[in-house]
């Protein structure tokens, strides 16, 4: 699998290293040094993935992320040096598909890029069945099963799992889960999502201390292992 990757980083060394590393893995790479250029290039070149560094001079990473969203349907992977959990949540809620903490190795980055590309392909294919190991979620028929055994979930539990399944592999913040599952007027706190996730895990036979399906993203939220 290959694709177009737009690298947005103000450091020339980083641009050069990423361009080389990603090209060795058969990606088509372009690199720019500012948010403004990123928005222009994203509209003109139509990349599949944008690697966006949050610490940009001028128009900062978050502003660029907001500007990118109407301009492109590319997956955005946010890249940052020691981001706080709040930054990660903010980036995810602003439309980022994933985040990678700097410094990282090329292999790790390539794995993340492939994961978001695969997710995008699944989304566009309209494939109604999401799989995570032995877990199968049939979105069309609203059926959940583990190793072929049907699992009965309450409507709330199903909604939460469905949202994670729709974005399988992507970390979803507590805030997003609350809004998606309980609606805009969700009075709840993170406690609600934790409680429901604990219930789902119990029904799926998943061990919270060593989860196979729903994974904790400390300080951020949850992710369904793709």
């Amino acid at each position: 699998m290959s694709g177009r990757v737009l690298v947005v980083d103000d450091e020339v060394e980083m641009q050069r290293a990423l361009r080389a590393g990603l090209q060795y893995h058969e990606f088509d790479v372009r690199a720019v040094g500012s948010g403004e250029e990123a928005v222009r290039e994203a509209a003109a070149w139509r990349p599949d993935v944008v690697l966006l560094d949050l610490g940009l001079p001028g128009m900062d990473g978050f502003a660029t992320l907001r500007a990118l969203r109407p301009a492109t349907r590319a997956a955005v992977i946010v890249v940052s040096v020691m981001p706080g959990e709040k930054d990660k949540v903010r980036a995810l809620d602003a439309g980022a598909d994933d985040y990678v903490v700097k410094p990282f190795g090329t292999e790790e980055l390539v794995a993340r890029i492939r994961a978001v590309l695969r997710r995008q392909a699944n989304l566009t294919s309209g494939e109604p069945i999401v799989r995570s190991g032995d877990l199968e979620i049939d979105l069309a028929r609203r059926l959940v099963s583990v190793k072929g055994q049907a699992v009965h979930l309450t409507p709330t539990e199903y909604e939460l799992l469905r949202y994670l399944a729709l974005h399988a592999g992507k970390p979803i913040s507590h805030t997003t889960l609350l809004r998606q599952v309980w609606g805009d007027y969700a009075v709840g706190d993170k406690y609600n999502t934790r409680y429901v996730v604990a219930q789902i895990r119990k029904k799926l036979g998943d061990d919270p201390a060593n989860p196979r399906y729903i994974v904790n993203e400390p300080g951020v939220g949850y992710r369904l292992e793709a």
Partner: protein, 491 residues
Amino acid sequence: MTLRRFAPYAVAVGGAIAVTVAIGLVTAVASVSGLSAFYLLLVLWLGARWGRGPAVAGSVAAFLLYDFFFVPPLGTFSVRGPAELLELVVLLAVALVTSQLAASQRRAQSVAEALARDSRSLYELATAMLRTQEVTSALSLVADRVRRLESVARFAVVGVASGQAVQLAGSALTPDELKQALWSYENGKSVGAVIKDGVVVPMRTHGDHDVAAYLPLTSGVVVVAVGARDADDAERRMLAALIGLADLLLERRRATVEAERARGLEASDRLKAAILSSLSHELKSPLASLRAGLTALAAPQAGLQPDQRELLSDLDRQASRLDHMVGDLLALSRLEAGLETEKEAHSFADLVGGSVGQLRGRLQGHDVTVRIPDDLPPVEVDEVQVGRVIGNLLENAIEWASAGGAIEIGALVIDDHFEAWVENEGPAIAVADLEHVFDTFWTTRSSGSGLGLAIARRVVEAHGGTIRAENRRRGPRFTFTLPLARVPMSR
């Protein structure tokens, strides 16, 4: 001057003559008794209007005229019988009593007017003070007002903050006087004068204008030289009131200074956080380029020889180690800077799940057992920080476990007391080292930073818990305690 002084007496005598003429006119027409009461009216009016002197003069003149013209034998001043004598006494008594009443009323009125004047000027001063942003200029207004008091020779306001006396307003003080002011403040003792019942009372018996008195206030001292010979209650009261205002202003100054200091501290905390975050960026950015470049070249497609690729991956491991150490150092300095923890109720199994997930790759090849009871009550912790504790202890276990050795993570609650542990199969820790393993930079391996366990200890202690190391049958075990959540999570 003399004319004005004698005018009331002239009016008194003139009035008595006029009343006599009026009585004469009335008696000429008809015989009416008790007309002498008209004199009483006159005396009353005189007493109320001018006081005792003119009233007495009026009553004597009235008696003489009455006696001469209306009391038989007419045309003489002779007093016959007790009736006339009584009449004279009544007139005199009325004159004295009414004039006394009028005089005391007038005095009360003039005191009330003085008080009203004082409070008006204090009010104006207070309003001006409140409008003045600068406390020192407001204090100068007070000092200016004090200078208008005739009995005050000198007046100065001294502020005291952190053991330093600073003159803020009023007449200049000598260094010795400043020293004396500081002494008075620090010992809470008035020197030379006291404020008693809202009045400044000089303690010296002889009035010496140039010797200053020191009055300690809540956050400063007032230095004032009052002449004892100019003793005037109204001025003393005014002075005490003005000193009260100065006290309020000094208090306001202290509050402002403290607020500024607090802002300064807050700013320095923000600065610390900003330096840490900028430092992390400065240190990690070059490492990021380094690792991205090294790992790019390690791809088979780069066309390097296997031994060259091996060299690159060695270099990348070193860069990773450096990155890890920088991260640990920054985490440690953040903990030392006392950055906030966000404590919430968490299931401990979830926290373990997060850390295990992050270390999944490195845990492969080890037999990992998790012993956490299903009904374990939640803990009240900062998710990210305690996740780091579990992660650091797991990394330590991976580091020290024998090849393929078992690693166990467990937790339990005994008597409302939460305890968790991470244990690995492997060599025991030397007994002498057990108490040092949590020390910052303490390590027995050249590859260790000596920070992971130190960070674990700081985090656990920041949660009010304890952490200890011990040797079990299989190998070393690290045990730590955490606070239980007050609200149970199950519903």
